[in-house]
């Protein structure tokens, strides 16, 4: 099976500091893949390279849609990466706080729609039609994520868990092939985390592939089909949850060396 997202030899230098060191990673279609590692391992840097916010020093980012035709993502601007089918959420929520919930999701449709200045002014039939479709689709996504009854609220007035879900809704509105989630469970209570677990599975069942960074090990172990572990910018392990649980390198990275002697 061709992986939908394939990263080979990804390297990112900031001046003399090597934040990512020849990283390889694969996401197969319909898989939930987790990227874990201690704080400062370079996970978010990896996401930023992937989505075009940083320009990687070396390496290849390849995206293959189901109909074939692999595309290289390196060096593309963030908006073009999104257009190719990679959508992300942010570790520290980055919604548009003074826009309504619905508008936040409608922004996600921007790259899939075409209305220009003249269309906006004259509101010709095509523009009106497009606008109706944007609203309808955005509402259906919001309803699916349980945000249907707060579409006219300002995003900043939502409770924390709902803001996290809204970020996912906004990313889904861009019609991605791969959804990148940066610590989606951060700051959530156990109940919310359980709901998130179900939500991510539901999204996967619709045919999307998911790559997530997460610190909540219970969530990672229950959700993931495959796990990559990084530390100090390097990949130190990969495998199924069972393999990772017992991998000595992973235990060392998380707990430090020679716990028994301490």
């Amino acid at each position: 099976m061709t992986p939908v997202l394939e990263v080979t030899g990804l390297t990112m230098d900031f001046g003399g500091i090597r934040a990512l060191d020849r990283l390889d990673l694969r996401v197969n279609p319909g898989e939930i893949v987790a990227l874990i590692g201690p704080n400062g391992a370079g996970k978010t840097t990896f996401f930023n390279c992937l989505t075009g916010l940083y320009r990687p020093t070396a390496g290849d980012l390849l995206l293959t849609p189901p109909d074939g035709g692999t595309r290289r993502l390196n060096g593309l601007k963030p908006n073009h990466v999104t257009m190719q089918g990679l959508a992300r959420t942010f570790q520290n929520i980055r919604l548009f706080p003074n826009m309504t919930v619905l508008e936040n999701v409608m922004i996600g449709r921007h790259c899939r729609t075409r209305a220009r200045v003249l269309g906006a002014i004259f509101r010709d039939r095509r523009t009106r039609q497009e606008e109706r479709e944007i609203v309808a689709l955005s509402v259906s996504i919001l309803k699916e994520l349980g945000l249907g009854d707060m579409i006219n609220e300002f995003a900043k007035n939502l409770p924390y868990g709902a803001q996290r879900r809204l970020e996912i809704a906004r990313a889904l509105a861009t019609d991605p092939l791969v959804l990148l989630l940066d610590e989606p469970a951060a700051g959530m209570n156990p109940q919310e985390t359980r709901e998130l677990d179900e939500l991510i599975r539901r999204i996967r069942d619709k045919g999307l592939s998911i790559l997530l960074i997460e610190h909540d090990m219970k969530l990672v172990m229950s959700l993931s089909d495959y796990i990559f572990v990084m530390d100090y910018g390097k990949k130190i392990a990969e495998g199924t949850p069972e393999e990772i649980r017992t991998n000595p390198a992973v235990i060392k990275a998380y707990l430090g060396e020679d716990m028994d002697d301490a």
Partner: protein, 405 residues
Amino acid sequence: MISLKDIGKACIIALWFVALTFPLMVIKVNPIDRIIIWRWHNMLWVGLGSFLCYLAGRAWLMRREIRLRRIRQGLEAELPQRTPLSRRIIQDPVIHRPLLAAGALFFLIFPLLFSTYQTNIMITALMYVVLGLGLNIVVGVAGLLDLGYVAFYAVGAYAYALLNLHFGLGFWTVLPIGGLLAATFGILLGFPVLRLRGDYLAIVTLGFGEIIRLILENWNEFSHGPSGISNIPRPGFFGIQMSLDHSITYLYYLMIAMVVFTIFVVNRLQNSRIGRAWFALREDEIACQAMGIDKTRTKLTAFALGAFWAGMVGVIFAAKTTFVNPASFTFLESAIILCIVVLGGMGSIVGVIIAALVLILLPEYLRAFSEYRMLVFGAVLVIMMVFRPQGIIANIRKTYRIGID
């Protein structure tokens, strides 16, 4: 409720205001008789006034604080969220329809009710309404702080002056040309500042505004330098000769049409795919890009469409005064237009219109206070920003009603 400490503080503030306004309010030099008139009674009024104002403001703040604390402690039930009056006026058709009709009627018969002088002032105010709505696209909606907006205004004005001088083009031909030319300049300014944000952007745009003014001032062969260009024809109406009074009335209605046109276009733009992208850009640039919005294109359209209105109003300005020179396009103009946007409420069309009318008409009608009018004007700005930082009317987002299915 008000402690001794507050009274002490009020005294200090009163003294400070007295010292601050001393040269202006107390000393009056009569250069003819070469004497100084000391108006000590003014000092008393300033001192007493600021003392009482401070105490009143303090009492109001304290009362609010106490109520908030009681609500937090659960001693007092939270008052049901009242919709602010400004929002009720806009959203309730029963209130806003008659208001709108009355306003429209007032503006339609304005030249019949008032003198030519008043009409002239109103034309100026309406020009600033359009300028404010134009800058609102750039600053209020897209969040790009532009301190050189007057440059586009100058481009429009000189476009008409020069095209008329050299090629004899008429007002109606140049009106769209001036707008498009200013939009082009907007894009030209936009390119180098694409990566800049906030303070840095403000400084570069400020520089851009000054560059345009200095070019107009110093390039004599091109713009006739500081002496400007005169004898610019007023707008024509199918070649009919009009008296001065009539042409002012004509210009007034033209300006009304222009304002209506601007409101229509700007409103539609704001509630479109592009308008949403502008708002998103203001809210969070990185998230905006990550959601697939082309930052470059979005910023450039904001600059171009903002500048477009300044260019059009520039043409009208040249036609109204029949004379342009660089002195009309100083930084102060940019600052006033920016004040209109901030005071009105970033991104709010109704707010900007009200603010433009207030800011331009207020100094005119404050002439009764003659030398203090700028002082009052400044005080109004300060008080507004302290007590209502979101502007006269905060931007209201469009709400959608979705049928239950």
